[in-house]
């Protein structure tokens, strides 16, 4: 019997107006800016989740990427909700929303913007949607650090803290955006969870 390994069982990459699921082009937009792309992608997926419209752009991007990642690829009933973790990273934290919030401060500060002035809120939105209760963490790096994500997520899996993990990169500042998220599970065969494989998918 083969030893169980950490396997990338699904991936979703969003960037340059294109969306890839497991390396295949799923959706191509023709949006002038990311604020048009995100609702366009929501309409394409039609998930019937009105709370989406209340999210900030970082959360919308991470939420959509995770929605695509899991759809048809994740057997949720195979795991206890506390066994599914989420580990995200980016380079600009919640700056995109921080700046929008700051613009409201001179007049009437917006409560609904204020609640998104932390980067890990995107993890909360994903967990609320899927009721995941496992370990989560959000890291800030200058650029995508696949080696760190592999090591940290691998550690969570090896120590039994989680049995499945959604991990990757969710970055947005104004019109610059990129999401690359991976579902990692313990399987006997499949695409090995390595930094090289993550970088290859990230750079699609």
């Amino acid at each position: 019997m083969n030893k169980s390994q950490h396997i990338i069982t699904a991936s979703c990459v969003i960037g340059n107006d294109k969306v890839y699921k497991n390396g295949e082009l799923l959706f191509e937009g023709n949006s002038a800016n990311v604020s048009d792309l995100l609702p366009g992608l929501y309409d394409f997926l039609a998930p019937d989740y009105p709370k989406f419209y209340k999210m900030d752009n970082v959360s919308k991007l991470g939420w959509l990427a995770t929605e695509i990642l899991l759809k048809g690829s994740f057997e949720k009933t195979a795991y206890a909700l506390e066994d599914v973790g989420v580990v995200f990273s980016n380079s600009n934290s919640s700056l995109d929303t921080d700046l929008r919030y700051f613009q409201t401060v001179s007049g009437y500060p917006s409560p609904s913007l204020f609640v998104y002035t932390l980067p890990n809120i995107v993890i909360g939105e994903v967990c609320i949607r899927h009721k995941f209760q496992g370990e989560n963490a959000f890291f800030i790096f200058e650029k995508f650090q696949a080696d760190f994500i592999r090591q940290y997520t691998g550690g969570l899996l090896d120590t039994g803290v989680v049995k499945a993990c959604i991990c990757g990169w969710v970055e947005i500042l104004a019109n610059e955006y990129k999401a690359a998220v991976f579902l990692v599970e313990q399987k006997n065969t499949g695409l090995e969870f390595t930094a090289a494989n993550m970088y290859r998918l990230f750079n699609l």
């Binding site: 419209y53 009437y108 917006s110 609904s112 609640v115």
Partner: protein, 83 residues
């Protein structure tokens, strides 16, 4: 009340709703529109920003924000005054 519904949709990011989808007496919270506590704060901002009405007494919130009609009545009663 149509204008107030339009303002609610914009202020609360209810892009999946149109003004005609919101009943004049429909509950704004819980079983009605399903607004939450952050939305309640946004409604207070809406009153200040659009009508210069400051809701000084927090206990009035549930009564004022029960429906579009109760909001409209409160605005009509207090517009131009400091509450």
């Amino acid at each position: 009340m149509y204008d107030l519904k339009t303002q609610l949709i914009e202020q609360l990011n209810l892009q999946d709703k149109k003004p005609e989808d919101i009943g004049d007496d429909e509950a704004l919270f819980k079983e009605g529109l399903g607004l939450d506590s952050i939305d309640a704060l946004e409604l207070i901002v809406l009153l200040q920003q659009n009508y210069k009405i400051k809701l000084a007494n927090a206990e009035d919130g549930p009564k004022v924000f029960r429906s579009v009609r109760t909001m409209a009545e409160y605005i009509t009663e207090h517009q131009g005054k400091t509450v």
